[in-house]
Symmetry: C2
């Protein structure tokens, strides 16, 4: 099939993630797509936040941030959180804040998954600060654990692709499993 | 709703991405979930690769890697690429390799999206190497551009969540748009 170059853009397919931080001692939330895993044991993750955002100072002051996975019913709130700035809009009541063992970053109770992260490094890029964090505690709504595992159909996370929020669709296969068929056929 | 702690795990929802690299002068491919954006203009991305992998030496030797987004029809190959190691299995022919302007990393023609990345930094973690790269060229199958934009329904990327590959489902909303309704209602 014919290929064409479309600039140097990153074709993102990722979770929409709501970052929680205390800024000037009040909960603040910001929607981001730039988040991912870097290692397990310890679990190291990152978020990249444009320097223009209100959130950055709070993360640096407290040394903690949270990651919250919103579900399908939170599309409008998720988008709103990404549009308005804490500089001029109080976002502290958009979600009910709860805290884990370290009271340094709020988590959003309405989101089915919440991860509390301690900052371990900051990468300074021209436009962004990349906060590298270690996950201290991961929370999940109790009813969303099925057979001992998180059920992503119930969690129903928002996926970012292009300029849209998407729902997860059908399960297509199982990781570290379906590819074995190609080994045997060699 | 009642929350419970489930360790310190990262609840990943991300694209399944196939990394391409030249290792010992041959194309090699590896499926990863640890990939994301860090900034735009320049477009900075990262991949995190466990040090046990065959790919790492090739990325370091050549200074380039590629990111390839597989689509629905490539579930088995994507999983296979993540199960078998280039140390003992030749994966060079699993995909048809093509090259961009810099012949330092192969891209997988069968994948509808391909991004060529130049390594700009490496973060050394205990188990993983985090390759930070700048995207040099982004390729897309010509037919998947609709009204000047990538059409993610046509691209049909594989999403990783839990231990499954998922299809994108329904569009739930538009970014930087749907949240405006909550601003007006204040």
């Amino acid at each position: 099939m014919e290929k064409v170059i479309i600039g140097k853009s990153f074709m993102r397919v990722s979770a929409a993630i709501i970052t929680g931080a205390l800024v000037n001692d009040k909960p603040n939330y910001l929607t981001i797509g730039a988040c991912g895993a870097m290692s397990i044991d310890p679990t190291i993750v990152y978020i990249s936040v444009n320097k223009a955002h209100y959130t950055n100072a709070g993360i640096k002051e407290n040394g903690y941030f949270s990651l919250n996975l919103p579900s399908k019913d939170l599309v409008k709130k998720t988008d709103y959180i990404g549009i308005v700035s804490g500089k001029d809009t109080d976002k502290s009541t958009v979600f009910k804040a709860f805290y884990g063992s370290v009271k340094k970053a709020p988590m959003a109770e309405e989101c089915p998954i919440n991860m509390l992260c301690k900052v371990v490094n900051i990468i300074d890029l021209p436009r962004n600060e990349v906060f590298i964090g270690e996950i201290i505690e991961t929370y999940i709504n109790k009813d969303y654990i099925v057979n001992g595992k998180p059920d992503f159909k119930k969690i129903n996370p928002l996926v970012l692709a292009g300029s849209n929020y998407w729902e997860l669709g059908e399960i297509l296969g199982k990781t570290y499993t379906d590819g074995k068929a190609l080994i045997q056929s060699k």
